[in-house]
């Protein structure tokens, strides 16, 4: 009990929170992009799983974490390609296809892993961290926030990058129009299907990267169903963030703290049944939804396939 508020404990808690938050952040940012463009991407959990599996396999065989991240992003894009083809181009139901993709990839990645590794779960070497000088010397938050893998800093930078794209570029206008009034975008001379496809593929890349991070850095190994709902949490984050990347970051950190607390409390040996501790993140989802869900504003054409000239 004494250790609960010690510097070491808090630092470990925060470090764990960041590690847990990054996959959620990447998934949330990706989902936000799809939703902005009018595509409800339920398949994101499947994209993360594909990313986790390929990311792990890539890193495992090449010995390079970066090649692993690349393979993970490519895996996410491959799944997103199927989604874009079926839901954006052909116009099938996004929810049905999304669920099918997620279920399909849960099975597929588990099966492939089983073929390759039988029942063993080989580990990757611990990811090396990039230490930011000076900042990392701050007590408690220094070691937690500024001794992370490079990709963590990149993910945070992405938040601001995407904020810029949404607010300041022509592409941002196109994405928003594709989600709010696709017909207006179409008659302005921009192909709605192409715009939405770009958004969905980007989602795939980000989700795949998030999955690869989860496996390679967060866990250091791949086990079937490793994402454990992270993609769905990303959907919740995107819906609550009202189109603003910075809110995805805050939300992801909040969930990250909850997830990290789960481990930290167990490590600290606090005497609460683990089942209850493990409910914490989902309790947090419920509370967030009750508090902010009403204000979530979704694009008007979200989930509706666009067909030119139809009415």
């Amino acid at each position: 009990m004494t250790g609960l508020f010690s510097e070491v404990f808090l630092s470990a808690l925060l470090f764990g929170a960041v590690t847990a938050a990054i996959p959620l952040l990447l998934a949330g940012l990706g989902e936000q992009m799809s939703e902005k463009a009018g595509v409800l991407n339920i398949g994101i959990e499947g994209m993360m799983l594909a990313g986790a599996y390929l990311g792990f396999v890539g890193a495992f065989y090449s010995g390079s974490l970066w090649l692993g991240f690349f393979a993970g992003a490519a895996g996410g894009v491959a799944v997103a390609l199927v989604m874009a083809l079926l839901c954006v181009r052909i116009g099938l139901n996004q929810i049905v296809i999304g669920i099918a993709l997620t279920l399909g990839l849960e099975g597929l990645t588990a099966l492939l892993h089983h073929f390759q590794f039988s029942r063993s779960y080989p580990r990757l070497p611990a990811a090396e961290v990039t230490v930011i000088p000076l900042l990392s010397d701050i007590p408690v938050i220094g070691p937690a926030l500024f001794k992370q893998h490079l990709i963590v800093y990149l993910a945070v930078a992405l938040v601001f990058g995407m904020g810029y794209v949404y607010r300041r570029t022509q592409l941002g206008l196109n994405l928003q129009a594709a989600g709010d009034k696709p017909a207006a975008l179409d008659v302005a001379g921009i192909d709605v299907v192409r715009t939405r496809t770009v958004a969905v593929l980007t989602t795939g890349a980000l989700a795949g990267l998030g999955g690869a991070y989860l496996a390679n850095v967060g866990a250091g190994l791949f086990i079937p169903f490793i994402t454990n709902g992270a993609g769905f949490l990303g959907i919740v984050l995107a819906m609550l963030a009202r189109g603003r990347p910075i809110w995805v970051l805050f939300g992801a950190l909040l969930f990250g703290v909850c997830l990290s607390l789960t481990t930290a409390m167990q490590v600290a040996g606090i005497n609460i049944p683990t089942d209850i501790i493990q409910m914490l993140p989902f309790l947090a989802v419920m509370i967030m939804l009750v508090l902010f869900g009403r204000r979530a504003s979704l694009p008007a054409a979200l989930g509706i396939p666009y067909e030119r000239g139809a009415r």
Partner: protein, 522 residues
């Protein structure tokens, strides 16, 4: 009229349509249309709702492709493959339905369509807009969100957008619908200035006055076909009144070899008989999505068919529902066979003999998943002999239903078939059978042949004539003028929720009704 249009009307079309046909499931929206669009001309496209005007525009702006025929741009056959292609060809369209993103600002909407990697060129746009608006005499709030603008302002933004893009051909699809009379005049003056600069304009409206005032050339569409054109030479030679009467002739004139044309049998309506239905000063308050009714007065005598003509959406449905008791009235009286019924409920009115055949056959008229047999008696649920102490009397229902199926020639696989599986014509027969059953005195038909094929249309019309011949009073609401002319004794015209005139169905009725429909005195 400027002298400019004559000099350029020498055959150099910006865009020409040759035999363009467009079909949608079950309908020919455009039927081999030829059209020439020339620089320096305002080409007015006229036609009622559903005539196919917007479909034509959809093909010019790259939203849809013709099934047959071809489009020539600058004399060369050019399939317009996408909206982007249309814009590149210099065709700018203001669509009938708002095409702005409500969550973006006006400036952002105007910038939509630029290369995606660029930053929006806001300063450039502001300068360009200032230049255009100063010559147009309008002000545009560039930084307001579109959702905060009035509909009129939104329409101005859309017109501005077409101009910012340097269109050679500007298409305005019912752009005056949201404008005030002053705004309409300003738009007219603006169009004149633009064609003087050498633009071509296609201007769609269904208001004849606007057509005559702003146009150089007029084409009239009717049920997908082009039924006539007034070229600029004739246009200039005629006065406004002559133009309007020529258009009325084109829009409402009898077509030759029309299979629906029947000689109207002369019925003897006893002028001295007391009216079965007498409506005086009926009024209904407008709602968000429906116009109100005001000062509606008419009588219908036994054996008489009174028609209600008018362009769809002018209060026809409200009138029918107010009479049937489904819509609250604010004032006025309704007398059925001498007794006041305006305070009675729907069921009580039906009980007294007032019957209403809705145009919403599947939504409001029947329960689609219920069998045909039950649908005959929907309005008698719980009543003897079909229900006894709350229990459905299957045998009784089936016996009577079988009788009605025979009598009304309902083509159904069985009595148990869900009514939604039947064709439109057979659903209509079920409704007819139900509403014309025992005790009917006054029957309101709302668009009874809408969407039916020819055979069922003719059958329904005969049914309505028979109803009147039995001595019932019939109110026939229809947007099909031919139908009214072939069936009614008198025709009332509804516009903006008011009856603007009642005409005896004599030889000149067609012209009189047509003039009333477009807001002129009969």
């Amino acid at each position: 009229m400027s002298g400019f249009s004559s000099s350029s009307a020498s055959g150099r079309d910006i865009v020409a349509l040759e035999g363009v046909t467009k079909r949608f499931p079950g309908i020919v929206a455009n039927d081999s249309i030829d059209l020439a669009i020339r620089p320096g001309e305002v080409h007015v496209l006229l036609g009622e709702n559903g005539a196919g005007k917007s479909t034509l525009i959809g093909m010019l702006s790259g939203l849809q492709q013709p099934d047959e025929g071809r489009i020539l741009v600058d004399g060369k056959p050019t399939p317009i493959t996408s909206p982007r292609h249309a814009l590149a060809l210099g065709i700018g369209t203001v669509f009938q339905h708002m095409m702005l993103v409500p969550t973006l600002t006006v400036a952002e909407n105007l910038l939509l369509g630029g290369p995606w990697w660029q930053r929006p060129r806001t300063e450039e746009l502001a300068a360009r807009v200032a230049e255009i608006t100063s010559t147009l005499g309008i002000t545009i709030k560039l930084h307001a969100k579109v959702s905060e603008l009035s509909l009129g302002e939104q329409q101005q933004v859309e017109i501005l957008r077409a101009m910012v893009r340097n269109s050679r051909l500007l298409i305005l699809d019912e752009s005056t619908s949201m404008l005030t009379p002053k705004g309409i005049d300003e738009l007219g003056a603006l169009m004149r200035r633009l064609v003087e600069q050498g633009l071509a304009i296609v201007f769609i409206t269904h208001k004849l006055k606007e057509a005559a005032a702003f146009g150089d050339r007029i084409s009239v569409l009717k049920l997908g076909r082009k039924v006539g054109e007034i070229p600029p030479e004739r246009f200039r030679a005629l006065g406004e009144q002559e133009i309007i009467s020529e258009i009325v002739e084109l829009m409402f004139g009898q077509q030759k070899d029309d299979p629906e044309a029947v000689e109207r049998p002369v019925r003897t309506v006893h002028a001295e008989a007391a009216p079965l239905l007498r409506v005086a000063d009926l009024a209904v308050a407008p709602t968000d999505n429906a116009p109100g009714l005001s000062s509606i007065s008419f009588d219908i005598r036994p054996g008489e068919i009174l028609g209600i003509a008018g362009i769809d959406g002018n209060g026809q449905k409200q009138l029918a529902e107010a009479l049937a008791g489904q819509r609250a009235t604010t004032s006025g009286s309704v007398r059925l066979d001498g007794a006041a019924i305006e305070t009675l409920s729907v069921g009580e009115r039906r009980q007294r003999g007032l019957r209403y055949l809705t145009d919403d056959r599947l939504g409001e008229g029947t329960v689609g998943t219920f069998p045909v047999s039950i649908n005959f008696f929907l309005k008698q649920v719980g009543a003897a002999p079909f229900w006894s102490k709350g229990v459905e009397q299957r045998a009784e229902i089936d016996k009577r239903a079988a009788q009605l199926v025979r009598e009304y020639d309902v083509r159904t696989p069985s009595l148990k078939t869900p009514v939604a599986r039947l064709s439109g014509g057979n659903i209509q027969k079920v409704l007819l059978a139900r509403e014309l059953a025992e005790g009917a005195k006054v029957v309101i038909f709302n668009k009874p042949t809408y969407g039916l094929d020819l055979a069922n249309t003719l059958a329904s019309r005969q049914r309505i004539r028979d109803t009147a011949a039995r001595g019932l009073a019939v109110l026939l609401i229809s947007t099909d003028l031919e139908e009214l002319l072939s069936m009614c004794d008198r025709i009332a015209v509804i516009a903006n929720g008011a009856l603007v005139g009642i005409v005896d169905n004599a030889d000149d009725a067609r012209t009189k009704v047509g003039r009333l429909m477009i807001g002129l005195a009969a």
